[in-house]
């Protein structure tokens, strides 16, 4: 293997060295329980307070509006279940989209089983929410709208400020799953009129197992984890000080380097996209412009995604796919079918997501290897033989 290129930063990111270094002392040295009276407990409490300020600052919220959770998934569950349960008397309707992460979709299904009603909004071929459909879907008993800020498979960034304004006007709470967006694009919960926002540490170079939920001041929400009353009684359990500190450091890093990271990653991503699209019968998925700085996503005809990812791995490149084979079911990812791709073509999906640790040589290396790998798989694909005789290619 000539090189190792991790290009699956949407799946998870390495913990940044600075983050690891700053969190370590909170494991072995400042290990005090943040609820304790004595000095090493106060050290933890202070560190948590500072971290809360940093995370709040990243999204222009107030520190008291940040609740630390055990994951992005938990934050999503808390937002949906917590709000719907708390507003049960007033409204039983939830609006979300058909291309949300399973942390939202499966939670919505659970709520349906409990008797709530859910509308799943369709998206256009680029993955953008249809604003008119949203407006039409809002009912007098709609309690919450939950639309992701950026999609994890195709990188499309939704018109969050517009959605926020519509919800605010309609008097409906608005949650956004910003797990892919936070730390990567600039967010202002006030300008965007966001009432709740989920984020996750491991998507922004902090560790796995820590997330946060922003809850606008004044919004009533039920906890989903009861106990000792930590996190203003909203999320009980001894505080994961090291994880919280790490998330704070990562948030501060992301905030202070936001613009330079966006510029650098966008350029690298565009070069990657341009290069990959030179492969014949290969198509971009997601919006061409409104997309996450690091996300390049494609469908490549006549090959299957899982084998593509495995063969890339043998060449030192980590990427991912939404192919059925990778999902362990017979269906390809709901996002790919959600933007209108047929099963036939969705099998050949590939997602390459760049992170702050990637550089231009990584892009060079991918652009050298990917065409070879595709070529090799196509050479053993019976579909490719048929394809070759059909110059128009398959349909996307």
């Amino acid at each position: 293997m000539e090189r190792f290129v991790y290009a699956d930063n949407a799946a998870t990111t390495p913990v940044a060295e600075k983050v690891a270094n700053e969190m370590m002392p909170f494991l072995t040295k400042y290990y005090g329980n943040a609820s304790s009276l004595y000095s090493i407990g106060r050290d933890s409490r202070k560190a948590i307070m500072e971290s809360r300020e940093k995370v709040a600052s990243l999204i222009k919220a107030q520190p008291a509006e940040i609740i630390f959770t055990g994951s992005g998934t938990e934050a999503d569950n808390m937002a949906l279940k917590g709000i719907m349960h708390s507003k049960r008397a007033k409204g039983k309707h939830l609006i979300t989209s058909s291309i949300e992460h399973h942390a939202i979709l499966h939670t919505a299904k659970t709520l349906e089983k409990e008797g709530f009603e859910v509308t799943y909004l369709p998206v256009d071929k680029d993955g953008l929410i249809l604003i008119d459909e949203l407006k039409a879907a809002i009912r007098p008993d709609t309690a919450l709208v939950s639309i992701m800020m950026a999609n994890n498979e195709i990188g499309t960034i939704e018109p969050i400020a517009e959605i926020g304004a519509i919800c605010r006007d309609a008097g409906v709470l608005f949650h956004t799953d910003a797990v892919q967006a936070a730390g990567h694009i600039s967010i202002d919960v006030n300008e965007m009129k966001i009432d709740l926002l989920s984020l996750s540490g491991h998507k922004m170079n902090a560790p796995k197992g820590i997330g946060a939920l922003y809850i606008r001041k004044g919004v009533m929400i039920n906890p989903i984890i009861d106990g000792g009353g930590q996190e203003r009684n909203l999320r009980s359990g001894t505080e994961n000080t090291a994880g919280i500190v790490a998330l704070g450091v990562a948030a501060a890093e992301a905030e202070s380097h936001m613009q330079e990271n966006i510029t650098r990653l966008t350029a690298m991503r565009d070069r990657l996209i341009e290069g990959v699209l030179k492969i014949p019968y290969c198509h971009l998925t997601g919006h061409p412009k409104k997309r996450l700085p690091g996300t390049a996503s494609f469908v490549i005809e006549a090959i299957e995604g899982e084998s593509l990812v495995l063969l890339l791995d043998l060449n030192g490149i980590c990427g991912s796919t939404g192919s059925a084979c990778s999902t362990g079911s017979l269906d390809p990812s709901h996002v790919l079918t959600g933007i209108g791709l047929s099963h036939d073509i969705a099998h050949g999906s590939l997602r390459l997501t760049l992170g702050v640790q990637n550089n231009e040589e990584d892009v060079d290396y991918i652009l050298e290897k990917l065409p070879q790998v595709v070529e090799r798989l196509r050479s053993m694909s019976p579909v490719w033989d048929a394809q070759k005789n059909c110059p128009s290619g398959l349909k996307v």
Partner: protein, 142 residues
């Protein structure tokens, strides 16, 4: 889901990839919608499979089972080849994740389908010999 080293070996360096010009039997199973297509080419002399090639569109397990299954029947008589079960292929591959078992079934069926094609080309009805017409579709419940 985790593949055995054997599966990874056969995926990384599959044996018998390719086509056979003027093959004596060709079988293709699966379809694009399901994400798995296997096509097997047989060269048969005196009821012996003297050469076998495959082309596969599909996941790592699909490629590995194609590679292993073709290797297991190369040089065997048709009778012996027909005894090849998906379980035997899986065992030879040191197991498959549960969600990938259907790939081994596909390999078994692709082979049977190619043998059926061989018989049909000889003007013999393959059904009583093979137990199916060679048109069996396993993958998707459509």
């Amino acid at each position: 889901m985790m593949y055995s080293q054997k599966v990874m070996d056969h995926f990384a360096n599959p044996i018998n990839v390719g086509e056979i010009d003027n093959a004596d039997g060709v079988g293709e199973v699966g379809n694009l919608k399901c994400g798995d297509i296997m096509k097997i080419y047989l060269k048969i002399e005196n009821d012996i499979i003297v050469d076998v090639k495959f082309k596969t569109f599909g996941c790592g397990a699909a490629v590995a089972t194609s590679s292993m299954a073709t290797e297991m029947v190369k040089g065997k008589s048709i009778k012996e080849a027909l005894k090849l079960t998906n379980t035997a292929v899986m065992e030879a591959l040191e197991g498959l994740p549960p969600v990938k078992v259907h790939c081994s079934v596909l390999a078994e069926e692709a082979l049977k389908s190619a043998i059926a094609d061989y018989y049909k080309k000889q003007g013999i009805d393959p059904t009583p010999i093979i137990g199916c017409s060679g048109e069996c579709k396993t993958c998707c419940k459509e």
